[in-house]
């Protein structure tokens, strides 16, 4: 019951932030110098009548606050507007392009966690030994290298020089093997992984590096805890101490970091989708920007902001679930 209440409280607390995101996006979109309709049409020869018609259609002839209220009314009904360039509803476009982005971001996290946790633990237990130094160098290089350049280098090595992995696009398993002409689900899975591998590593490296640093510090701290001393004094084997006693406590901050880093991961996805030609939200944003597709740009920003907020709420709830000390809903 406590957890459910906590979840509801967190969701309610998120409402002002979500409204804030729409306000910021709306203000940005409406401070643009010049006539948005002319910008949108990018110098095409059009008569004033068409411009007026478009302005009416978008409600641009009405005052700002009225337009915001109209925008929010539509948004609450799931309508994020209409893309004039693509002649399709924004909501539909975003839903279509969300899959690849989520697949990319989640796999990058899977890669980051699967490498960072063992390496961080290794570094913590072999403090100041070669394994520790190597992991610290990896972490340092990881936080200092632009993800898109890692992507470029991976393409150069694995796609261009060695020719073993594809350099662009993803395979979406939900389209089924027939769509790609694969023999079956085994090949579909194989191709999905093959295509995902390079972008996943490119996007996940920064996450891996930050998580590894945190994991190392947390494990070192946890291993110095009195409860670890107690377990040792009662003859608990070192492996159990590492895997159970010290590890469980050290994981708590990792959960929070994962949630907060979602922000960098979603931003990085724009770059990685660009490098690897992945048709996700990030590339949709870039395409929308080239066409100055206002409603599409706003829609994507609002949706990505919401994804981050939801992600943080999910990690907060898992934290509360894992850490018995969290008092649900109360500010202690």
């Amino acid at each position: 019951m406590g957890l459910l209440r906590y979840t509801i409280v967190r969701l309610i607390q998120a409402i002002p932030v979500l409204i804030g995101i729409t306000v910021i996006t709306f203000i940005l979109a409406n401070v643009a110098p010049g006539d948005p309709v002319r910008l949108m049409l990018q110098g095409q020869e059009v008569d004033q009548e068409l411009i007026d018609r478009i302005e009416r259609q978008y409600g641009l002839d009405r005052p700002l606050h009225e337009r915001y209220v109209a925008y929010m009314t539509n948004l609450l009904q799931g309508d994020l507007g209409y893309s004039i360039h693509r002649d399709r509803p924004v909501t539909e476009l975003i839903i279509q392009r969300s899959g690849p982005t989520l697949m990319l971001v989640l796999s990058a996290y899977a890669f980051a966690l699967a490498t960072a946790i063992p390496l961080g633990i290794l570094a913590a237990t072999r403090r100041n030994e070669p394994a520790d130094h190597v992991s610290r160098i990896v972490a340092l290089v990881g936080v200092s290298t632009p993800s898109f350049w890692i992507g470029i280098m991976l393409i150069l090595i694995f796609a261009i020089q060695l020719g073993v992995l594809p350099s662009s696009g993803l395979v979406y398993p939900w389209w089924g093997p027939e769509h790609y002409g694969y023999s079956g689900y085994v090949e579909l899975l194989f191709q999905t992984i093959r295509h995902l591998l390079l972008p996943m590593i490119a996007l996940g490296t920064l996450q891996m590096a930050t998580l590894m640093r945190v994991e190392r510090t947390q494990m070192i701290e946890s291993l110095q805890g009195e409860y670890v001393k107690l377990a040792r004094a009662y003859g608990v084997p070192e492996r159990t101490i590492l895997r159970k006693h010290a590890f469980q406590v050290a994981q708590l901050p990792i959960i929070t970091i994962v949630g907060l880093n979602l922000s960098t991961a979603l931003g990085g996805a724009v770059l990685i989708e660009y490098v690897f030609n992945i048709n996700g939200l990030g590339r949709l944003l870039l395409e929308a920007i080239i066409g100055l597709d206002y409603q599409l740009i706003m829609g994507i920003t609002v949706v990505i902001g919401t994804m981050f907020v939801v992600g943080v709420i999910i990690t907060d709830i898992s934290y509360a679930y894992v850490d018995p000390r969290v008092t649900y809903g109360d500010r202690d």
Binding site: L28, W149, I155, L156, T256, L271, I304
Partner: protein, 331 residues
């Protein structure tokens, strides 16, 4: 709210940096640490190159006029002009680096598709990255200090409103917020100036959070109480007492933030929202080289290494500074 917010507050450097540590002491501690020392060397070299090229390019511009003036290039003491495209007869485009059989020593890192010397462009790129990194961080630093100090000092509804705004800006991934900012504010014609301002504004919340938590602890100090009791104006208390005493951890954070800023600006330029051609900028050079990945591999390699080394320098130095100022995080 319990976790999310408290964790956000604590992801900066720790709050109680001992004020008694003087600059000389801090510098000595940084120099003791091998990695931090190397970080400082890298930062020093990059700063020197930036300063040199800044003076160099402006001198030549003043003396010889426009970039397209061929005379300018010949008169330059050390480098060809990074933006000057050689006249049609002299073009040597896509020359590979010196170690390649087809390379020449006069172009150690090769030339780009327009025939410009790549080494020169890489060297000049430092200027853009570093100045953008420092200026943007400064904007975030100053803006964040003001908002954080006001918010932390006054508390109450002022604090609530400001912190909700900060939280909201925090919720949109920085890169995306900056891109949207640049596009809308520039009306579709991006420029490095918009990028600098956009990055700076986006980082205000991060600084505001740190300085706010500092101020919250400083606010309770006896001397602030005393100043308030003796009728010193709020504005003066903030400027003379609160901000100076909350400064050190934010300064450390700013050093680390320069690395992040350079990283973000490189990403922006790579996508075409930062520096515009023909300005030599590492991210923008990677954008151009993206089209030559199959034919001219080196075009993609050098700018990336330059970014990596520069950011690593700032990160190492920042880490060292943090360790020197905060004895609690010594691992």
């Amino acid at each position: 709210m319990a976790i999310g917010e408290s964790q956000l507050d604590s992801d900066g450097p720790s709050t109680d940096v001992d004020a008694q540590f003087g600059w000389r002491y801090t510098f000595g501690k940084v120099m003791q640490d091998t990695t931090a020392r190397w970080g400082l060397y890298v930062v020093a070299v990059v700063l020197f190159i930036s300063a040199y090229t800044l003076i160099d390019s402006n001198l030549s511009r003043l003396t010889f006029g426009a970039v397209s003036d061929f005379a300018a290039a010949e008169a330059l003491p050390l480098f060809e002009h990074p933006e000057r495209i050689p006249p049609p007869g002299e073009i040597e485009s896509n020359v590979p680096p010196a170690f390649h059989p087809d390379g020449t020593l006069s172009h150690p890192l090769g030339t780009d598709p327009d025939g410009r010397d790549y080494f020169t462009r890489i060297v000049y790129g430092a200027q853009v990255s570093v100045s953008v990194g420092i200026v943007s961080t400064l904007i975030g630093f100053v803006g964040g200090t003001i908002i954080g100090a006001v918010s932390g000092y006054y508390g109450g509804w002022v604090d609530d409103v400001l912190m909700r705004i900060v939280e909201t800006v925090y919720a949109i991934p920085p890169l995306i917020l900056i891109i949207v900012f640049i596009v809308f504010v520039s009306g579709g014609t991006p420029d490095i100036r918009y990028a600098i301002v956009g990055v700076g504004i986006t980082f205000i919340p991060i600084f505001a959070r740190i300085i706010r938590s500092e101020v919250l602890s400083v606010r309770e100090m006896d001397y602030i109480e005393a100043a308030r009791a003796s009728g010193v104006k709020n504005r003066d208390i903030i400027l003379r007492h609160v901000i100076p005493n909350s400064f050190a951890p934010v300064l450390v954070y700013a050093t680390l933030q320069i690395g992040v800023t350079i990283l973000v600006v490189a990403g922006l330029s790579f996508l075409g929202f930062g520096a515009q051609p023909p300005t030599p900028d590492w991210g923008q050079m990677l954008n151009v080289s993206h089209g030559y990945m199959h034919s001219n591999v080196w075009l993609s390699i050098w700018p990336g290494i330059a970014i990596l080394v520069t950011i690593m320098g700032f990160n190492l130095f920042g880490d060292g500074l943090q360790d020197a100022l905060d004895p609690r995080i010594n691992d």
